[in-house]
């Protein structure tokens, strides 16, 4: 009997099977993915092979730390590597200055990559050597991918008239740079080539392994450092690990949420499907009972159908989740190492199969309990309607047009209307969010005020370590291209420290401009306002998160060695925490080359950018002409390379899920309404009328779902995004969102029309044969 039932509704069961398979595939993918990412990052960043603290420090600092560490018993090893901070040495790749797109750039002298206390994995080129040979350079794989650097390419080091070529022999994954969210990069060189870098600032890469908390060691190091021996920047193992899984966490959280949502929807749909099946087979169920079948027998017919389809689909879906996990994992973890599956994925797959099957079977059983209430007499009497409550009055009285009948249908069949709205609404809410997240990353440079609380100027002109000259300012001021300009520095070198231990601003990003006027910079803060005079400072949200400071409070800062009391005028969000903003006047006692080195220009017409660039290059050839894109390109390219494919996959899956559900609804509707369609045809309603009624109904419901998706997006996505990314950079792009919604609606309408075409084959003759 159950096989017969299965065959009778095979199309619907197939669609339901696909829906279940999709939901479990995503669930299985995400669980496997998060487990594998965790396992993989744990192994890549394990304590045994990785130093807990990495410092770029001045030469001699290592020796000082070694000596002082004798006082402590929690520092297990200190390893030091010779390296250089490349500031003025020109390194060209394909005639482009490497430092213009990678800043800061370090050259590390490598002897044996197996010996370093962080993980270097050669992935392309010479995989046998343990270090670059003389004349060769190893490049971080993520940097190579972002900037089209390939094995056998040449880095030309130009020193005056001499050129030293270094051949890229190997690309390596470096756990210190798993994503480009961290600015800067390193190249690895042979000891024999180190002399070419002697003109640059010599540094030590100090790798400290400790049993203590990294922060405790950092605090201790602050007491050890002197003016001569100190670290310029540092990284901790936990911070590197956090950066490595930042995107994966975002993706797996989004994916797991989506999968959970899909599964809930799927079960709701199956329950709805069962309910409708019982309603439609009310008489048949009564007949079974009247001839002696027990409730359990009858429930068994249906249970077997759904359980069989469910378990097969869940198993297929969960198994498909494994290759999908590899596919997504290899995209996301590309720069950390080779992503592969372990037994944990197999267990998670089995877990998904067992749990979802049990949930499904239990839900089906609960839904089938309704069969117990059906008596043969009730069933014969009621026919195809289970209760009077099911029938609702028409909303539009005297309706006749297909449109008004469609509206009546929507209200008469409220539960299925609600399901369609729910599916379309929720799916497109996620789709809108993902598309706009991608766009927000993709257009990072156009939203600098939100990402780094930086000015939205069209371009910046600067000369490293040189104060702005009046000549340049006058030229810019009088240029026909220029609308307005600001002066200062986005990444000032002024030393700013706090006297309060709770405010950790060592290595903070310090920004200063002569003005933060919104009309010139586009900068606004969530709390307070940018500084307006030399007695004010603005500090980023994360820095002040666990402190008592608020807007209007005074904070004591040590600016270039001099204590100053400043009022906190604003607290702002930025990707570059810790971060502080001042007006340039605050630094009036500091050498100008530390903070007064950039001019940010707003052009009258942004399309004149190239012409203005040519003009500046011609008149000020020693100056760098940059746009915000130059500052964020590295970060952006890396994120986009992960986000675009993953987002596309999730959107495609969600869209397929939505379409499958709509197909299911249409098939269900067409099956149930077959008789009504036949009656309508017998009384002269054309195929076009009936199809239009269907299309209008689905279109109206889908449009409502899309509108709800747009409203939910406006209401919640910004907060979700802020909670995950800690910056307020989410923007709903009206054009792209509209295109997405219109295309979505278009596809839904097309599918509805396509699936409604079989209505043409329904013959009123069948009614007479019944």
């Amino acid at each position: 009997m159950w096989i017969k039932k299965l065959k009778k509704k095979k199309l619907q069961f197939i669609v339901l099977g696909f829906i279940l398979a999709f939901a479990t595939m995503i669930l299985s993918t995400c669980i496997s993915f998060s487990k594998e990412v965790q396992r993989y990052t744990d192994s890549q960043y394990d304590d045994a092979n990785n130093a807990d603290l990495l410092l770029y420090a001045t030469p001699g600092t290592s020796k000082l730390i070694q000596e002082k560490s004798q006082e402590r018993d929690d520092i297990t090893s200190i390893k030091t590597y010779q390296c250089y901070y490349i500031a003025s040495l020109n390194i060209y790749h394909h005639n482009a200055l490497v430092q213009s797109y990678i800043n800061p750039l370090y050259a590390i002298v490598l002897f044996d990559y197996n010996d370093v206390p962080f993980k270097l994995t050669p992935v392309d080129g010479d995989l046998q050597s343990t270090c670059p040979a003389p004349g060769q350079v190893w490049v971080q794989n993520i940097v190579a991918d972002n900037h089209d650097i390939s094995v056998n390419d040449t880095f030309d080091i130009k020193d005056g008239t001499t050129t030293k070529p270094l051949t890229v022999s190997t690309l390596v994954n470096d756990t210190r740079k798993p994503v480009s969210m961290t600015t800067g990069a390193a190249i690895f060189i042979n000891q024999a080539d180190a002399e070419w870098f002697d003109s640059q600032q010599s540094l030590e890469l100090i790798c400290i392994t400790t049993d203590a908390d990294s922060q405790a060691i950092l605090d201790w190091l602050d007491t050890v450092y002197t003016d001569e021996y100190h670290a310029d920047s540092y990284d901790t193992l936990s911070a590197m690990k956090l950066k490595a899984i930042m995107i994966t966490s975002l993706i797996s959280s989004l994916g797991t949420l989506s999968a959970g949502f899909m599964l809930i929807i799927t079960i709701v749909i199956i329950l709805f499907f069962i309910r409708n099946t019982i309603l439609n087979e009310y008489s048949a169920i009564g007949t079974y009972k009247s001839v002696g079948f027990t409730n359990l027998d009858i429930m068994g017919f249906y249970q077997k159908c759904y359980a069989l389809v469910g378990i097969i689909s869940i198993t297929i879906g969960s198994l498909l989740g494994l290759p999908m996990s590899i596919f997504i994992g290899r995209i996301v973890m590309e720069y950390i190492g080779d992503y592969s599956l372990s037994m944990a994925s197999i267990y998670s797959c089995i877990f998904v199969i067992v749990i979802t099957s049990l949930i499904l079977i239990f839900s089906i059983w609960l839904a089938l309990m309704r069969i117990r209430k059906i008596t043969p007499v009730d069933a014969f009497r009621v026919g195809t309607s289970s209760s009077k409550a099911k029938l609702k009055k028409s909303l539009i009285k005297n309706a006749h047009s297909s449109f008004s009948m469609a509206i009546n249908d929507i209200f008469k069949y409220k539960s299925r209307s609600a399901i369609i709205v729910l599916i379309v609404g929720a799916s497109f809410f996620v789709a809108i969010m993902l598309v706009n997240i991608c766009i927000s990353f993709g257009r990072m440079e156009k939203n600098a005020p939100a990402w780094i609380s930086g000015p939205a100027c069209d371009c910046f002109i600067t000369k490293e370590d040189h104060a702005l000259t009046q000549e340049l300012i006058d030229y810019v001021q009088n240029s026909a291209y220029v609308d307005s300009y600001i002066t200062g520095e986005l990444f000032s070198k002024v030393s700013v420290l706090s006297t309060d231990d709770n405010v950790n601003i060592k290595y903070a990003n310090v920004t200063d401009f002569n003005t933060f006027d919104y009309n010139l910079t586009g900068i606004t803060y969530r709390h307070g306002r940018p500084p307006q005079n030399k007695e004010e400072v603005a500090i980023d949200t994360l820095t002040l998160k666990n402190t008592d400071y608020d807007i209007g409070d005074y904070i004591t800062l040590v600016i270039n060695g001099k204590e100053t009391n400043l009022m906190i005028s604003g607290i702002y969000d930025t990707m570059m925490s810790p971060s502080l903003s001042f007006v340039t006047d605050t630094f009036s006692d500091v050498p100008k080359e530390l903070y007064y080195t950039k001019i940010g220009v707003n052009l009258k017409n942004p399309k004149d950018l190239d012409a203005f660039r040519a003009d500046i290059n011609e008149h000020f050839p020693d100056y760098k002409f940059e746009t915000m894109l130059d500052f964020v390109d590295d970060i952006k390219v890396s994120i986009m390379s992960i986000m675009i494919p993953v987002t596309t996959i999730i959107i495609v899956i969600f869209f397929a899920f939505t379409l499958l559900n709509i197909i299911n609804m249409i098939v269900m509707n067409n099956n149930e309404q077959q008789r009504n369609f036949g009656i309508m045809k017998a009384y002269g309603f054309s195929n076009g009328y009936i199809i239009r009624r269907n299309v209008f109904r689905l279109s109206l419901l889908s449009a409502l779902g899309l509108a709800i998706a747009a409203i939910l997006n406006q209401a919640f996505t910004r907060s979700i995004y802020y909670a995950v990314m800690t910056v307020n950079a989410y923007k709903t792009e009206v054009f792209e969102t509209t295109i997405l919604l219109v295309c979505g609606l278009g596809v839904i309408i097309a599918i509805t029309i396509l699936l409604s075409l079989p209505i043409k084959k329904i013959s009123p003759k069948k009614l007479m044969e019944e």
């Binding site: 029938l391 005297n398 006749h400 019944e770």
Partner: protein, 251 residues
């Protein structure tokens, strides 16, 4: 001289069952006249219902022609057929086939909209409901009506569009005798007012309401009986004549 409203010539209908064809209608030449209450009877599987589908525009013949109200069915597009069904003919089914999600009133009016203004259709629907004793039931859904009430709603529905011919496929087949009588009385009353009716039935009582009785067997019309000369008042006399006729045909 009565007007021909339906005419078939060499009407054939063949169903393909597996690899063999089954000729259900065999070269039928038939004329049906305006104002008649034509009843088609015959043996099971004799082709009655198939003939009804063919002459009511619901099905297309395999060969031959069907002309209804001057329209050659074979030349009509699907759209024209829809319009034709809406305005020219109407149907009453054995299983009523009311739209289960519309009330009695809506079932009637919905079919009528498009043939006249909504006000007129609504007015007529209410009149029909009143005429057929269904005023109290106008807001009820089909599942809340008895079989007889449902069939009377179906008759009202058939009448709403001023159809020139009403076709009935065993309209009393699923009703008890009392409900069946109500329906037949309604149809007779309509016919008495000039409504053309073509009905297939197995029911002898239904057959006695005919003005013309056709007997079908094996895909052909074997015989016909004109009952116009018998007064509708004398039901027993008509019944005897019909019974004799049917017995003669081997019914």
């Amino acid at each position: 001289m009565k007007n021909k409203i339906i005419e078939t010539k060499q009407l054939c209908k063949t169903y393909i069952l597996g690899k063999t064809g089954m000729n259900v209608l065999k070269n039928i030449d038939l004329e049906i006249y305006e104002g008649d209450f034509t009843v088609i009877m015959g043996s099971s599987g004799g082709g009655k219902s198939t003939l009804l589908y063919a002459i009511s525009s619901m099905d297309k013949p395999t060969s031959g022609t069907v002309t209804i109200l001057g329209n050659d069915m074979s030349n009509m597009t699907e759209k024209q057929l829809s319009m034709f069904r809406k305005t020219e003919v109407s149907f009453i089914f054995q299983s009523m086939n009311l739209l289960h999600d519309l009330t009695a009133f809506e079932n009637i009016a919905y079919i009528g909209y498009g043939t006249d203004t909504k006000e007129n259709v609504n007015k007529k629907a209410l009149e029909l409901l009143d005429k057929f004793g269904l005023t109290e039931e106008k807001e009820k859904y089909p599942s809340e009506l008895s079989g007889g009430q449902q069939q009377r709603v179906a008759i009202c529905r058939a009448l709403i569009g001023n159809a020139k011919v009403i076709f009935g496929d065993e309209p009393t087949g699923s009703l008890n005798s009392s409900s069946g009588k109500q329906v037949l009385d309604s149809l007779t009353a309509l016919n008495n007012n000039g409504q053309s009716i073509v009905m297939v039935t197995h029911d002898l009582k239904a057959a006695t309401r005919a003005t013309r009785l056709l007997y079908m067997a094996d895909g052909r019309i074997y015989a016909e009986l004109n009952l116009e000369k018998y007064s509708s008042e004398k039901e027993s006399e008509r019944k005897a004549v019909v019974l004799d006729f049917l017995k003669e045909q081997g019914w």
